[in-house]
């Protein structure tokens, strides 16, 4: 199972967390969870859909923990949520990003990180994973209409946050 899904898990972790070490740790967490929970897997979705879900939840949990840690450290300086969010994603170490795209993608990921979780997930699954609307809907447990709506809101939010990009 590792050999079949490790590449997908590691790359999705990189796109959520933007750091090599963080992504490696998250990938380990995902496969440990998959190993522990496989007996409880009901088979109501395909294995890859299930692994996508475990990966997304693991990454979102890590991001929340990272934000909590930053918040407790920076709480003394009474920063806004947006400022904490930005400072929580400072380290950018993505091996899949070329040198010429690095600066633009760093800015783009900073904006993507500020999107609500579901919008962010829909956008990453559509763009970096190149999943179909149906596949995204299955992974997220939503209807395709809901996914389309999430994507259009994500695009509008990105346009608003990065008016001079593109």
């Amino acid at each position: 199972m590792y050999h079949q899904h490790a590449r997908m898990v590691y790359n999705l972790c990189l796109n959520y967390l933007h750091g090599r070490e963080d992504a490696q740790e998250a990938t380990q967490d995902v496969f440990v969870k998959v190993h522990e929970r496989f007996t409880g897997f009901k088979g109501d979705a395909s294995v890859s859909t299930w692994i996508y879900r475990v990966t997304i939840n693991t990454c979102l949990d890590r991001l929340k923990a990272r934000k909590r840690k930053k918040r407790s450290l920076l709480g003394w300086f009474s920063l806004s949520d947006e400022q904490v969010e930005r400072s929580a994603s400072l380290v950018f170490d993505h091996p899949g990003v070329s040198a010429e795209d690095r600066e633009a993608l760093e800015r783009l990921f900073a904006a993507v990180d500020e999107l609500p979780e579901q919008q962010k997930t829909a956008l990453l699954l559509k763009t970096t994973e190149d999943l179909s609307m149906n596949a995204i809907a299955e992974v997220m447990g939503l209807s395709t209409k809901a996914v389309e709506s999430l994507l259009s809101r994500a695009r509008a939010n990105l346009r608003q946050r990065m008016p001079n990009e593109g």
């Binding site: 590449r7 796109n15 380990q28 990003v97 990453l124 970096t128």
Partner: protein, 86 residues
């Protein structure tokens, strides 16, 4: 701004292979997380419960015993106090 600009940029991210040591680390973590057999955890819980029961019985017995001891001390006119001068 081109609507697909950010999305095209995200699509340009290359897929990379996970480092080869990752599988070894996962296997090490799985080996470290040794599962405690269910029977053993039940046995430990029973032992703790038995220990609590024994404690309660001993303490209860002591309370009764100390009452009887006081009676003996009174009957024999002994001084059970640690005070030297009373």
């Amino acid at each position: 701004m081109d609507t697909n600009g950010p999305e095209d940029l995200l699509k340009r991210i290359a897929r990379v292979d996970p480092p080869p040591f990752l599988l070894t680390r996962i296997e090490a973590r799985l080996a470290a997380a040794v599962q405690v057999p269910r029977g053993r955890s039940v046995a430990v819980a029973c032992a703790l419960a038995a220990l609590l029961v024994v404690n309660a019985v001993v303490l209860g017995g002591e309370a009764v015993g100390s009452g009887q001891l006081d009676e003996v001390v009174d009957a024999m006119g002994m001084n059970a106090s640690n005070q030297l001068y009373r």
